[in-house]
Amino acid sequence: MPEMNLLEAIRQGLDEAMAADTRVFIFGEDVGKRGGVFRVTEGLYDKYGPMRVIDSPLAESVIVGACIGAAMNDTLPIAEIQFADFIAPAFNQIVQEAARIHYRSNGDWEVPLVIRTPYGGGIHGALYHSQSVEAFFAHVPGLKVVTPSTPYDAKGLLKSAIEDPNPVLFLEHKKTYRLIKGFVPEEDYRVPIGPADIKRPGEDISVFAYGLMLHYCLEAAQTLAAEGVSVEVVDLRTLRPLDTETILASVRRTGKALIVHEDNLFGGFGGEVAAIIAEHAFEDLDGPVMRIGGPDVPAMPFAHSLEAAFMPSPASIATAMRRLAAY
């Protein structure tokens, strides 16, 4: 099994999906000759040509809007939004159109669309190249929101997303692109959209995370293990639909829950997970449901000192784990 980074796994997934089905095409800014600003689509333009790897005009609303139309005309578009920070102009098309078309047409029309976009910080991207946007979109029924954190999951989930008859927002943490490596099998496989994955089993506390924070949680769990605390780390992988069963089963075992994300706390995705646990596992809890999130400031600043102050870290996560374990 070859080892590769998360970005390469996504590229391989795209390549294989395009080879397998001629209906698949890519549409976004700089995805052609340049291969995307992060190089995710590198080589695909040469392999599949300008009719299947298409440089779009610099206009996010029509990137998504046109892909919605294309999806309704028997193709399988993959839209790339260059940075999640720039998805706002397409919000209307994603939320009002892509997510609602199947429902509003009473099941008559489908929008098999994947929107890939890099999100998250810790890479000196400042306010407008670091944002986490999952909370805005996870709120919307009709849309699927996927947040892989390992190369294996990224490739497997991407293929599931391309084959899904619904619009899928595929969020790629940009710091994990080259940082996170892992084994990816040669054979064709899928990771289904929906199920969470226990990345590290444990007994004392349950920690829920996704994307880069999943890795920070694993690091913190390692630290806690040395201190005699057994931490279960659950990778949510898909935020919508959310795997509440796995979440609740884990909390029922450990009696303690911590949710970690980089997005700011107020109204963040962790609030939903916390509410589900409070509603359905109250009797099993031996401590408060805890959350860690980015600070409630408009976005992540550029200066290294400020960026570091914004990002949750393995150390700050370990501190929270200790507090929770002490209950």
Binding site: D21, F25, F27, M51, R52, I54, S56, P57, A59, S61, V62, V64, G65, A66, C67, I68, G69, A70, A71, M72, N73, D74, T75, P77, P89, N92, Q93, Q96, E97, R100, I101, H102, Y103, R104, S105, N106, G107, D108, W109, E110, P141, G142, K144, E163, D164, P165, N166, P241
Partner: protein, 342 residues
């Protein structure tokens, strides 16, 4: 590249060589749309239909354009005034009324959307929403997919002149122009966006002026002249199928009603204008043209009106009798089920 209307009217003789029965069909659809529309207002005033939004005054623009399309092959994305469009494309009067009454068997949405948000996959009528202009981007994308697949269907999309202020209009025109996509953009310019006049919407005299700015033809046509609209659309369709790209057509129409059943246009339209609009009725105009050219006798006209009235009666009765959606179906179709891999 803006084509002047004189050039269009200078082409063939009356009717652009369309056989008399086709010309009569065009009129029948216009009358049917009008009669359905008028009945909807009656039902609204009677408390049976909470919301009506009209195509009155737009019939010629819609019927003329739709007759230039290939039904079942070309995609249409009509906005909420597109009643005549969807009738020509194959939606039945009963189906339209099922939408008005929000019945379970409404083909557009099963009673989920407000009336006039048309859609029907079988007829290639693409589902519409309420935020204006979003469908223009979808039309460009349908054209893009068609080009990728190497097919020769076109996407025809309609919208009001107020909607041309939306970013999606500009983004979609630009994309379609860059890739020479088979799309026909029909702006039905009735000079008002609810109460806001065109003068406050744009600094150009005609929406068609936008075309050349994107490198595509912009054509302004009298949208109360069904044959003129047919002819410009026919040429635009030909051009699109040839692979020469999109066309922007401004059909100058009149809005013969208030914006919707929730609006009172007397609060912002001067009385003389309301009278004038009555004299620009596209149906009256087409009847006169057909009469003048010996294509429609007085008796035929009366028969047509009676036929249409009977159809509207039957459609109203059938739709009113149809069941409402079951409350349990509220949760249906949030997500489409997985398909077998191909």
């Amino acid at each position: 590249m803006t084509v002047s209307i004189n050039e269009i009217s200078a082409s063939p003789g009356f009717g652009h060589d369309l056989p008399p029965h086709t010309l009569q069909d065009m009129l029948r659809y216009m009358m049917l749309a009008r009669a359905l529309d008028e009945r909807m207002w009656v039902l609204n005033r009677a408390g049976k239909a909470p919301f009506v939004i009209s195509c009155q005054g737009h019939e010629a623009a819609q019927v003329g354009a739709a007759f230039a399309l290939s039904r079942g092959k070309d995609f249409v994305l009509p906005y909420y005034r597109g009643l005549a469009t969807v009738l020509v494309m194959g939606m039945t009067p009963t189906e339209v009324m099922l939408g008005l009454f929000a019945r379970a068997t409404d083909p557009s949405s099963g009673g989920r959307q407000m009336p006039a948000h048309y859609g029907c996959r079988r007829l290639k009528i693409v589902t519409q929403s309420s935020p204006v202009g979003t469908q223009i981007a979808h039309a460009a994308g349908i054209g893009l997919a068609e080009k990728i697949k190497g097919g020769d269907a076109v996407a025809w999309v309609s919208f009001g002149e107020g909607t041309t202020s939306q970013g999606d209009f500009h983004e979609a025109l630009n994309l379609a122009a860059v890739h020479r996509l088979p799309v026909i953009f029909q702006c039905e310019n009735n000079e008002y966006a609810i109460s806001v006049h065109q003068r406050q919407q744009m600094a150009v005299a005609s929406v068609a002026d936008r075309g050349p700015a994107y490198g595509i033809p912009g054509i302004s046509v009298d949208g109360t002249d069904v044959l003129a609209v047919y002819e410009v659309t026919r040429r635009a369709v030909e051009r699109a199928r040839r692979g020469d790209g999109p066309t922007l057509i401004e059909a100058r129409v009149v809005r013969m009603t208030a914006h919707s059943s929730d609006d009172n246009d007397r609060t912002y339209r001067p009385p003389h204008e309301l009278t004038l609009v009555r004299h620009q009725d596209p149906i009256v105009r087409f009847v006169a043209q057909l009469r003048e050219h010996g294509i429609l006798s007085e008796a035929e006209e009366q028969a047509m009106r009676a036929e249409v009235a009977a159809i509207v009666d039957r459609a109203t009765e059938e739709a009113e009798r149809a069941p409402m959606p079951e409350p349990e179906t509220l949760y249906d179709h949030v997500y489409a089920p997985a398909r077998p891999r191909r």
